[in-house]
Assembly symmetry: C2
Homo-oligomer: 264 residues x 2
């Protein structure tokens, strides 16, 4: 591996890294930008579903990563000031990578691969990147077989979502599948019982035991899940203390994942 | 209530609101700045443990709040440009409040008030304001009797922590009490069983049943809880899927709170 020194922030070879704060939100032809050591190590590990395209880091950090960087991967190095000028803000972690998103898999594929006791997380209308990252992190922590997202969800490959997920976005399989209705239909066809989390349900989550193919369905924090969708599912609630509004959606998903995957 | 119009960002009457991004991190003589509608409504509600000192909002928002604003509370109103100039950044929520922190209560007081089946959350070395806010939000959601923080924890009254807590920082009692060791000692003396959450424990959390005075002890995400502290407690784990690192500390606390307060 021969590092490529970059001295000019306008160097065309690092165009993909330029002004990432602004460009994050726009399309990138299947590429994404990731940052930080844990995420970088995930991208370079066998667990990653994504191909690394190149790395950009502060010169002084290179030695920490030499052992895990593949021979043929372009590695750009620069001084901190040049790095900051490229990124468009102070990059205190000093580590960036460009990766290729995995090929989009059909939902049927993802569900067919899931085992008899698989738990799938399905998210409807999640527009917040922190929450999206948290859902992936929690899905990874509890060994969920994958995530299904409806087409109103934000892109999990947004830089902040990847960071909040601690790299889980790069390793947990996911599929985007039209509407919430379509997702529930596909889950049912594949033998999954769909557990919809909603504060208004009368059945408490804590009565559920693990076992069998299960999907946990969560909606965005404000509006929650659409009424018509919940009616098709087994609606369960996490009882809240008097008057207090609600849990964060990623926290809700984690509690449900724990309930449905715990051993005791 | 007579709103006070502010036309000049340098007006001394709104000095407490000036450049809040920079000043957030410094001391404020027991005052704090809060933002957003949910937090503001909490501050003005009977559930709040804090006294509102003044409000500052965009003129057009005033009508939404007139019914809940006390007669004698100073309310400053300004155009959006003036608001942004005061705050030092674009205040898209257009709503700020200054409040007075509650009088610090001795830990003994807080524990004495707790019931026979009370659950207390104790946090050690939490330096991240998002996590601090999440801990308060989850404590409120599950009706924890209060939070105990060691003296290495960050200030929960930092603006972002309050926001992430969805106002719970203003309504959940807390006390800061020296070291983790001191906290565990006080809990034990008051008849609380201390449950320490740590990935290395052999006893799974999911075997625990609610009942009795319990404290849930969590540490910061990187280092976790000190070994010596865990040895004094009942250490339990949330089993993680193969190889994946760990859950967020606020998520961990939420799962434990659910386990120890659930009805089924």
């Amino acid at each position: 591996m021969i590092p490529i020194e970059i001295q000019n922030p306008a160097d065309p070879r690092i165009a993909a890294y330029r002004d990432i704060r602004e460009r994050d939100l726009t399309g990138r032809q299947g590429l994404f930008v990731a940052e930080g050591e844990v995420v970088l190590r995930t991208l370079l590990s066998p667990a990653s579903l994504c191909r690394p395209v190149s790395l950009l880091m502060a010169k002084k950090r290179l030695s920490r990563f030499e052992a895990v960087i593949p021979e043929d991967l372009p590695v750009f190095v620069a001084d901190q000031e040049v790095l900051d000028a490229i990124a468009g803000f102070h990059l205190h972690r000093g580590l960036l990578a460009v990766g290729q998103k995995p090929v989009a898999r059909p939902v049927e594929d993802l569900l067919a691969d899931a085992g008899d006791d698989a738990v799938i997380l399905a998210a409807i209308g999640i527009g917040n990147h922190d929450n999206m990252g948290g859902l992936f992190r929690n899905a990874a922590a509890f060994g969920a077989a994958g995530l299904l997202l409806d087409d109103r969800c934000c892109d999990p490959f947004y830089r902040k979502a990847i960071r909040v997920s601690v790299g889980a976005v790069l390793r947990v399989p996911h599929a985007v599948s039209g509407t919430g209705e379509a997702i529930v239909t596909r889950l049912e066809k594949n033998g999954f019982e769909v557990i919809a989390l909603t504060p208004g349900a009368t059945e408490p989550l804590s009565g559920l035991k693990p076992g069998g193919r299960r999907a946990i369905l969560v909606g965005s924090e404000g509006p929650g899940l659409p009424e018509t969708l919940m009616k098709r599912c087994r609606a369960v609630a996490i009882p809240m203390s008097g008057g207090f509004d609600s849990l964060n959606v990623a926290v809700t998903a984690a509690i449900a994942l724990h309930q449905l995957t715990r051993s005791a």
